[in-house]
Symmetry: C2
Subunit: 129 residues, 2 copies
């Protein structure tokens, strides 16, 4: 049986979708690989923060982008949003225990990068020559 | 100073580019987060494989997609390509020591997912209600 190019593309797309749905490491990559996700998780690992405090830490993040990222992390149960009933009332974001349990993976990646990225870069330069 | 919407977008793009360049965990995410990358790394962690053996393990991967992924991993020094001078001569792909050093991060993500993805899914369902 020969598939047309369109059929091949559709089959590849289906296969990739089922891989995404089933592969455990891919599921984690989808969470922490989302644009800005690590940038939000890393400051929250230091302690609860207001929206304005997070923005100040993340150069160039628009209000909209930050709000969207926080909603996604909240939806996944990694970040909790709490209205602080003090004066002035304000909203604070913090890592949930589930979010905290994800952090060692980020530290693990950070450690690997610090040890090994120079070697990766050297390979990239050699390949570009 | 008030930025126009275009200027804001440009600033956000610049900031994201410099974050990508500097953040160690992001650099690792860019390597293992590439489409199909984990699918290629996981079978190679079991031992060297030919192109056809890899294809057989990755349902739906086109020849082109697999070739591109292998080239990217080769460029980064994670995968080695070796021409085996036996009869019939063939090409074999294997993890380099650098590639092997990356695998514990993938196992770590896999373990986290197996323990925690049910809770993430439960949060997603609750958020969708």
């Amino acid at each position: 049986m020969t598939l047309t190019a369109d059929q091949q593309r559709a089959a590849a797309k289906d296969a990739y979708a089922s891989y995404l749905a089933e592969c455990p490491s891919r599921q984690v990559l989808d969470i922490i690989g989302a644009k800005w996700a690590t940038l939000v998780l890393l400051p929250l690992a230091e302690g609860p923060k207001r929206h304005s405090q997070l923005r100040a830490r993340i150069a160039g993040a628009s209000q909209k982008m930050l709000t969207e990222t926080l909603r996604l992390l909240e939806r996944d149960g990694l970040v909790a949003r709490e209205v602080k009933q003090v004066f002035p009332a304000h909203v604070e974001y913090s890592l949930t225990p589930l979010g905290e349990s994800l952090m060692p993976i980020l530290w693990h990646m950070k450690d690997w990068a610090e040890v090994n990225m120079a070697e990766v870069e050297a390979h990239r330069r050699a390949a570009a020559d």
